[in-house]
């Protein structure tokens, strides 16, 4: 390794997407500083309106959850054989959402694709809040939600330990690790920007806050050296982590022998799906923010287009996985599997299956066309559809597989989503939204330092 191992060429060469394409020359380090730090500060009426609405929805969700704890999980729509339904669906959905952040910040970092610099902070925030949301659902869906700590390995007088062979136990490790690592990654990235914010902060409290976030950063050469070295290893650790986490989540299903679950393709298929939905949500958020905060010159159409190409790629992977699943079900010897997949698209939940297929495979085909990729309203709608589709993908995998098990005796008992579940689902979005709304107002939503690197470093002598 060595310096050449960590390269931050000031963007000079035209082939470097980091600079010439993305940043109008008018921009200087100072203007960048001001533009981005402008976002922090007294929120306006619109922000407050959205925030209060958000809190209301969250409250409704919490009431539903309380009722469920008091009455029993029966207030949700679960039945035998559909013992998992919307809650596990939400869990997988949110974990999926959480994946794009690490992808953009870590994987693209290792790939040196500089366009990430404009978007990765948003993506990372989304990751952290996404995991925080996902982490709720394993507890929400428990029959006895007051005992979640029994899943953690801690020494007790009973001498009991959790069962490390259970995929649910793997989840405990994967998700907690992911939450920890992605939060650290997020906060470390913020350090230099927090310093910048601190140096501009007027109010003593904000000063205190940013001093905290900046760890007293001064941009000394020694700090930069270890900072970037560590940052590299965070990326290097987060990359395998992000792949492992959704693989583990997919094994919740793949390890069971339920027809429709028991499939080796699940890990890559889930990871692709996760990135698919995650990037889609990032695009939605960016479209709102760049408009709301007038940052079109920082997050340019090229950024958006690059992201939507990522969506297109993952969409094709997901579509391929669907087809392969069906093919192997049809081609393989397993009659249960074959019957299952036929039922999935023609049986009681056919509509869900078709929503999934059209939203994830058919509609994204529009992204093959440049005008679509650069048309923000259209892109926004398209990405919303993608996330609807991805939610239904998990729903179909979980519910329709369970509803048609080996034993014909239990066929025909069909799951119906209850109001409690709907309220808790809405609440989960509100929970996520609450953190995100606070985030954009309190922390620099774009990496100032890294964006400055995209500018031509000021040189007296021209090279």
């Amino acid at each position: 390794m060595g310096e050449n191992e960590i390269t931050y060429e000031p963007a000079m060469t035209p082939d470097d997407v980091g600079a010439t394409e993305h940043v109008p020359p008018a921009m200087t380090q100072k203007s960048l500083n001001d533009d981005i730090l402008r976002m922090i500060g007294k929120p306006g009426k619109v922000w407050w309106a959205v925030f209060l609405l958000d809190l209301t929805i969250l409250a409704i969700g919490l009431i539903a959850e309380r009722n469920q704890i008091v009455q029993g999980i029966g207030v949700a729509g679960h039945t035998r054989p559909v013992m998992w339904a919307s809650y596990v669906t939400n869990f997988v959905f949110w974990v999926g959402i959480a994946h794009c952040g690490t992808l953009v910040s870590a994987i693209l970092f290792l790939f040196r694709s500089h366009f990430r610099r404009a978007v990765y902070r948003i993506a990372e925030a989304m990751t952290v809040f996404g995991v925080m949301t996902a982490g709720l659902f394993p507890i929400v869906h428990l029959g006895r939600p007051w005992f979640p700590y029994w899943l953690f390995p801690y020494p007790t007088q009973r001498g009991l330990w959790p069962n490390f062979r259970s995929p649910l136990e793997w989840d405990v490790f994967a998700v907690t690790t992911y939450l920890t690592v992605s939060s650290i990654f997020f906060l470390v990235g913020i350090i230099p920007d927090a310093a910048a914010a601190r140096d501009r902060a007027k109010h003593w409290f904000m000063k205190l806050l940013y001093t905290g976030f900046s760890f007293g950063w001064t941009g000394g050469n020694n700090q930069w050296k270890h900072f970037y070295s560590a940052y590299l290893y965070f990326a290097a650790l987060a990359t395998p982590l992000v792949l492992s986490v959704h693989s583990v989540v997919s094994w919740d299903f793949a390890v069971a022998q339920v027809p429709g679950w028991h499939s080796t393709i699940f890990a890559p298929y889930f990871v692709a799906g996760a990135i698919f939905s995650g990037v889609a949500l990032v695009i939605n958020l960016l479209i709102i923010i760049r408009k709301g905060f007038k940052l079109e010159h920082i997050v340019t159409l090229d950024h958006m287009e690059k992201l939507s190409k990522l969506v297109l790629l993952t969409s094709t992977i997901v579509g391929y996985s669907y087809l392969v699943e069906f093919f192997s079900a049809w081609y393989g010897p397993n009659a249960y599997e074959r019957n299952m997949f036929w039922w999935r698209f023609t049986g009681h939940f056919w509509w869900a299956a078709w929503i999934m297929f059209s939203c994830n495979v058919i509609f994204p085909l529009a992204l093959w066309f440049k005008p679509v990729r650069r048309n923000m309203p259209v892109l926004f709608v398209l990405m919303l559809l993608v996330n609807v589709g991805m939610w239904f993908e998990r729903f179909v995998i979980i519910v329709s597989s369970l509803a048609h098990p080996f034993e014909p005796n239990s066929w025909g008992v069909n799951y119906r989503m209850s109001w409690t579940e709907a309220a808790i689902l809405a609440g989960s979005f509100a929970w996520f939204g609450m953190f995100f709304l606070i985030f954009v107002r309190v922390l620099p939503a774009f990496s100032i330092a890294e964006l400055k690197e995209t500018l031509a470093a000021p040189m007296r002598r021209k090279r």
């Binding site: 009455q71 029993g72 999980i73 029966g74 729509g77 679960h78 039945t79 035998r80 054989p81 559909v82 013992m83 998992w84 394993p138 869906h141 428990l142 029959g143 006895r144 939600p145 005992f147 979640p148 029994w150 899943l151 009973r158 009991l160 330990w161 959790p162 069962n163 062979r165 259970s166 995929p167 649910l168 136990e169 405990v172 919740d252 390890v255 069971a256 022998q257 339920v258 028991h262 393989g332 010897p333 397993n334 009659a335 019957n339 369970l402 098990p405 080996f406 034993e407 014909p408 005796n409 239990s410 066929w411 025909g412 008992v413």
Partner: protein
């Protein structure tokens, strides 16, 4: 028996394990409320140890013997009395549910009087005073007094009779299912008015003309046992069901003859004619002219049964000696029911079965039951205002007598009506005074259910304290004394003892009365082998086919509900939640319609359908059933109660309202098969809660059959679809098996080839399965665990279930619920797939065709409970070890460790794990399943599960532990069959065998290695601990 049991309520709850929710956190509780010991140490009660008493079941007239299990003076379970001649140890579901009659929260709590329309609690003194006033008045003025009782038989019936006599009144023994036509027909044919004893065990072929002898007809438990014995013989045991609607009994038939309603007579006579004309019969040859008219063609014409089928049936019937034809059952009671039964008698006579399989030795005791004619006379005199006082005990004619009889209206004309019934019912509700009687399990008494059987009832517990009831006998005596008539002993017990003196002389030769009495109580009664009464043919009545009233619509088939009998079971949640064996519907009535007929009306499953006759109309959900003729609809009886407690009221409809006035020509018995109906789609949403919606097994091989020819070695084994029978390389594995195993193993995710074990290495108990021979370890590389608790286990518990014996009666389901504190959840939750039963009987209708009346009938029943898999899919997925494999091969479920991820249930291929979606054990919750005093029944040896935990069958591990403990106390090895789970114990046909696979001599080992064995969903390689034995498939006639 027991002394003063002074536990307070909380302690009952604690013993019953209720409030588990509060304590499941696992923390030791701080000392809370009081613990109240006995005042005087009772000699026969040791807290924590069960005491057993013998008694007699009073849920139906069959009178099975009971063993009643009590703990701390509470009855917690009833089981069949193995010594008892009627049921020999088994007990049907209705019998098991008698507990919920005892502890029914809607029992009458104290004497009550009706004052201006409302019920008012009064004291016994007051009550007796009021009653005596009216009664004395009536007796003094020689006005009419009548007493109606159920068919109690034995001393109480006598007492009631004497009481009525002394009061100058009438005594009416009322049973809705009175076997009146049967007795009348036998009187005419054999000169003996009796319900004969049908010996199914000896029969080599049985033809049932609508008799549901596995459900309600005669003595079901005894008959089921005999039937199973007959069916166990591959070379014979052919069974044909002749009925328009396939009953549970019919579902067990090899062949279903979907005869036109009322055509049974023609078929019976036609068969007789064939036998006579072809001279096949062993019996009476002189009856030719009686049946001359019934040529096979004529029969086909009258009954839709193909002529050549009539001949084939007849020839086979005559050829298999002795054979047996049975007629009876409500569903076939038409205006010609005596004629029908006489025709069947004739058939038996010519085939030479009378005295062989139709015997008059141990006849069922219906002698005292009043013919419907008498009931009508009473109704008339009540109507005419000639009856001043009416006393009712046990019987519920207001509900059970058809509406047209006008009983209710007439009863209202009686001046003063007294009910001695312990439970509020429709009849009691129309009374002026309630003098509640004790439940059978609380009272002393006797019964003579069959000839040569004197069965005793004894108080198995102190009367449930919240109900202030008296023994019915004492009440009668007290009434008589108070109103000054008759001369009765001071107490009912004295009367009983007096009546037993002759029996003492007869059976207690040389014994003191005390010794004899105690022995008899302990044994459950006294009995003797009755002498065989020989009967001669004494002519038959005129035969005619019944005409059905009312237009050209489908015929109405009413049948007795296997769960509720004549309706007296409807107040017991267990029986309400027990799925109907035919439809698997619960908590409701329904109208069974052939799918094609339904399609014509645009009816889907569960749609409300309106059924109308001239007499009335009812609306109930439709059940689309291929097992019924297109020109029939069927409705079960027993539901539609109006005043029979919270569990019965407003559930379903009382189909008796549909009956037009119609009686049997010869006997005057109520005709149930008599009307044609108009059916139409009614408004409203589909609403029928069923525990099993899909009745096709979609080639999943869960219920399997094997042709008898294969068993007899006269035909090669059919090519197999999967290897669910084969033990790879196991003992007796043939070449083709091995090939199959190769093919099977080459399929993805399947069995890995087991390795030879090192010398001295032995498979530990938990790894032993019937699936795999003991001399092998479970699979390559995998060395079975032999550490810690797994070191020196000596048992591998397993079960073998014979689908050939299982007739789908579901006694095991109720037994299981009673033993394991399984809550009932009600129809709404069941509709959402949340039933809690640990064992269910799955019904698979492979071939069910009303049109092809000559074809094979293939309905299969599979008892499905936790398979206790050797390699259980549910275990590894639990994150907290709440379910794991115990050293003795049980698939353990630790309720208090469960956090409720429900992953295990998802991964269970058999879907036998039930989840506590709500709190069924917390008294303050609306979902509470055991309202006081139902919770008194809870088994203290089994934890009552709380909200949010998974539960399932454990092979009754509490019984296993108890059994092992007893063996250890006596310092001896366990005996095979010593430990019996509740389901195996209660099974009338002994279809369920439980034992230890480690012991090669045990019955379960032998069964598990027999040639009929297979494992459900075996290609998942779960290595189940339950081995199924295939049902035998016989050649049809």
């Amino acid at each position: 028996m027991s002394e003063d049991v002074v536990f307070n309520r909380r302690d009952f709850l604690k013993l019953a394990g209720i409030g588990a929710a509060a304590t499941l956190s696992g923390c030791a509780q701080p000392p809370t409320d009081r613990l109240i010991p006995y005042l005087i140490a009772p000699d026969n009660i040791l807290p924590g140890v069960a005491t057993w008493y013998a008694s007699t079941c009073r849920e139906c007239p069959a009178g099975c013997g009971l063993l009643v299990k009590t703990r701390e003076g509470r009855v917690i379970k009833v089981e069949g009395n193995p010594a008892h001649p009627v049921n020999q140890g088994a007990l049907c579901g209705r019998g098991q549910a008698t507990l919920q009659g005892l502890y029914n929260p809607d029992r009458i709590a104290s004497p009550m009087a009706r004052e201006d329309g409302a019920w008012k609690k009064i004291t016994w003194e007051d009550a007796l005073k009021r009653a005596a006033e009216k009664l004395g008045q009536a007796v003094r003025d020689h006005r009419g007094v009548a007493i109606i009782t159920e068919n109690a038989t034995g001393s109480f019936e006598k007492l009631a009779g004497e009481w009525a006599g002394a009061a100058g009144g009438t005594h009416l023994v009322y049973e809705p299912f009175s076997y009146e036509s049967l007795r009348e027909a036998n009187r005419r044919c054999f000169g003996l008015s009796a319900v004969p004893h049908f010996d199914f065990e000896r029969a080599k072929m049985v033809v049932s003309f609508g008799a549901d002898f596995l459900e309600t007809f005669g003595s079901p438990v005894a008959q089921a046992r005999g039937f199973a014995a007959m069916r166990a013989r591959p070379e014979s045991g052919f069974f044909v069901a002749v009925e328009p609607r396939l009953s549970l009994t019919g579902a067990n038939a090899d062949q279903w003859v979907a005869v036109r309603p009322g055509g049974e007579i023609a078929l019976a006579l036609g068969m007789a004619r064939v036998i006579l004309t072809e001279g096949l019969g062993a019996g009476d040859k002189s009856l030719g002219e009686a049946v001359a008219a019934y040529t096979p063609e004529a029969v086909e014409q009258q009954s839709d049964v193909p002529a050549e089928l009539v001949q084939r049936l007849a020839r086979r019937f005559a050829a298999s000696r002795p054979s047996l034809a049975v007629a009876g059952g409500i569903a076939s009671q038409s205006e010609q029911s005596v004629a029908l039964i006489a025709a069947v008698n004739l058939l038996n006579q010519v085939a030479g079965n009378v005295g062989e399989t139709v015997r008059f030795d141990r006849t069922l005791n219906f002698d005292a039951v009043a013919p419907f004619g008498e009931v009508q006379r009473l109704i008339q005199s009540m109507d005419a205002g000639q009856i001043d006082v009416l006393v009712v005990h046990g019987a519920n004619p207001v509900y059970a007598a058809p509406a047209w009889s006008g009983f209710a209206a007439a009863m209202d004309k009686v001046q003063y009506r007294i009910s001695l019934s312990g439970m509020m019912d429709e009849t009691s509700d129309r009374c002026d005074l309630l003098l509640p009687s004790l439940h059978a399990l609380e009272s002393l008494g006797d019964a003579e259910p069959a000839r040569g059987v004197w069965s005793l009832l004894q108080p198995t517990m102190k009367p449930v304290p919240m109900f202030d009831a008296h023994p019915a006998g004492d009440t009668l005596i007290a009434l008589a004394k108070a109103s000054g008539f008759g001369a009765f002993p001071a107490a009912w017990s004295e009367y009983l003892v007096a009546r037993w003196q002759p029996l003492h002389k007869r059976f207690g030769a040389g014994k003191s009365w005390g010794a004899f009495w105690d022995e008899s109580l302990a044994r459950g009664g006294v009995w003797e082998e009755p002498d065989a009464t020989q009967v001669k043919w004494s002519g038959s009545p005129a035969f005619a086919a019944p005409a059905l009233k009312g237009g050209s619509g489908p015929a109405l088939v009413l049948y007795a509900s296997p769960n509720h009998y004549d309706g007296r079971g409807a107040n017991k949640p267990w029986l309400q939640e027990l799925p109907d064996p035919t439809t698997k519907a619960v908590w409701n009535s329904w109208v069974e319609i052939h799918p094609e007929t339904a399609a014509g009306l645009g009816l889907a499953m569960g749609d409300p359908v309106k059924v109308e006759t001239s007499a009335g109309s009812v609306t109930a959900p439709a059940y689309l059933y291929a097992g019924i003729r297109k020109d029939c609809v069927a409705i079960p009886l027993g539901q539609g109660h109006t005043a029979y407690g919270r569990y019965a009221n407003g559930r379903g409809v009382n189909a008796l309202d549909l009956l037009p006035a119609s009686q049997d020509a010869a006997s005057g018995a109520v005709a149930y098969l008599t009307a044609r109906v108009r059916i139409s789609k009614a408004a409203g949403p589909a609403d029928l809660a069923m525990t099993q919606r899909e009745k096709q097994q979609a080639d999943r091989q869960i219920a399997q059959i094997i042709p008898v020819a294969v068993l007899l070695g006269t035909a090669p084994a059919p090519a197999r679809r999967d290897t669910s029978e084969s033990v790879p390389g196991g003992p007796g594995s043939s070449a083709h098996e091995v090939e199959e195993v190769e093919a099977f193993n080459s399929r993805p995710g399947k069995y890995t080839e087991p390795r030879e074990m090192k010398p001295g290495e032995k498979t530990p108990a938990h790894a032993v399965t019937a699936y795999e021979p003991i001399h092998r370890a479970r699979a390559a590389r995998q060395i079975p665990i032999s550490e810690g608790a797994y070191k020196n286990a000596q048992h591998r518990w397993a079960m073998a279930i014979d689908l050939n014996s299982c007739n789908g009666c579901q006694a095991c389901v109720v037994a299981c619920s009673a033993e394991n504190n399984v809550p009932t959840v009600g129809p709404d939750l069941i509709q959402r797939g949340r039933e809690m039963m640990w064992i269910r009987i799955e019904r698979y209708e492979e071939k069910l065709d009303a049109a092809a009346s000559s074809s094979r009938n293939d309905v299969r029943f599979v008892p499905m409970m936790c398979q206790q898999c050797g390699d259980a899919p549910c275990e590894p997925v639990c994150p907290v070890y709440a379910t794991y494999h115990n050293p003795e091969g049980l698939n353990a479920q630790v309720y208090n460790r469960c956090v409720g991820t429900r992953y295990c249930s998802n991964n269970c291929p058999y879907k036998v794990r039930s989840f506590n979606f709500f709190d069924y054990s917390a008294p303050e919750k609306p979902t509470f399943a055991f309202p006081e005093p139902l919770n008194w029944q809870l088994n203290p040896d089994v934890t009552v599960r709380s909200k949010g935990v998974m539960e399932k069958c454990t092979f009754c591990v509490q019984r296993i532990l108890e059994g092992k403990g007893n063996a250890r106390d006596e310092n001896r090895p366990l005996k095979d069959g010593e430990i019996q789970p509740a389901c195996a114990q209660g099974c009338p046909t002994q279809a369920i065998v439980f034992g230890d696979l480690m012991d090669p001599e045990s019955r379960v080992s032998k069964h598990s290695h027999g040639e009929r064995r297979y494992w459900a969903l075996n290609d998942l390689n779960t290595k189940p601990g339950i081995t199924y034995l295939k049902k035998m498939e016989r050649e049809t006639a």
